[in-house]
Symmetry: C2
Subunit: 193 residues, 2 copies
């Protein structure tokens, strides 16, 4: 197993354990035992338990930010971009359920620059959506909405980590399409606007 694969496995096992028992309820030794690696291998990859929590909380949001910027470049049209962002967001949530649950529950256990870094990435991701909405307003396809609207719309997606079934009947992309349909209509201009 390559070093990067080892690191990925340790993070996944830790996320699953933290999601199940809480960050404070799991020790580094238990993570080692559950991932099948010895103390040496474990500490080769992580500095501390907080380091692992930071890795769990930052990996998916860093992916969302990077892919979000790519999607923005790929889709200049705000409506098409929202559809693409929506599908991608649901896919990332679906494949990172434990990580996102852990991030929501335990982000306040991160200290100093680790906490700041995770919060900044969430703000940057929200900004990608806000900018898309603003461009839609400028192009006269969306109405102007209160700034708080984007927080609500993103909450629609992120809250799904509490009810989404990994192998449910609908694919994450299908759910993403239902949601982007709601989002686009909620922002669209009416006849007399």
């Amino acid at each position: 197993m390559k070093q990067t694969e080892q690191a990925k496995k340790i993070t996944k096992v830790a996320a699953t354990l933290f999601a199940k028992k809480g960050y404070n309820g799991v020790g580094v030794a238990e993570i080692g035992a559950a991932s099948g690696f010895g103390r040496g291998t474990l500490y080769h990859h992580i500095e501390s338990k907080e380091d692992l929590l930071h890795e769990i909380a930052s990996h998916y949001i860093s992916d969302l930010v990077q892919s979000g910027h790519s999607i923005a470049r790929e889709y200049p049209d705000p409506i098409q971009r929202l559809r693409a962002l929506s599908r991608h967001l649901m896919a990332v949530i679906s494949s990172n359920l434990a990580e996102i649950v852990v991030c929501f529950r335990e982000v306040q256990s991160l200290t100093g620059s680790r906490h700041y870094n995770v919060m900044c990435m969430h703000a940057e991701y929200q900004q990608i959506w806000s900018k898309t909405i603003e461009e839609g307003v400028q192009q006269n396809v969306f109405r102007e909405v209160d700034k708080i609207a984007v927080k609500g719309l993103l909450g629609m997606y992120f809250y799904s980590c509490l009810w989404l079934k990994p192998y449910g009947l609908q694919s994450p992309e299908d759910i993403g399409d239902v949601f982007s349909d709601l989002v686009i209509r909620s922002l669209s201009k009416g006849l007399n606007e």
Copy 2:
């Protein structure tokens, strides 16, 4: 202080402590010390720590269910009803931030009938919203939406417990109005539907 006020205070203090330190990180003795009541008074009101968690997780959702049914009777019109449900939901979230955070994080720590009871009330509350949407569809003001839409729309509200400021610039009712505007538009029929 009346007995019911004592019980309310104990529950509020416990919710704040659980939200801050996690359910497993707080003992009954600490709750007693923080609420200023002795062991006797504490155990007069609660049977166990899980009993307290159940009280925290069930009180706001029981309020939402009861008030939701009243609002449904008061507003036969689906659009007016959604506006009223929206304002009320944001007001309840705003005055129960710690309780809702604790419920989301720790509901799986409830066992047996306590867990079942809380999950049933959440399902019942969702049903109040689903029924309102269905009535709108029957009255030809809303389009038919995938069943999963109501989960997304409610997520918009509940997720706010992670970002809502208790003394923010916008009142919960104002935020409720922004959100119900998004919800109603997202469900409304277009010109050719």
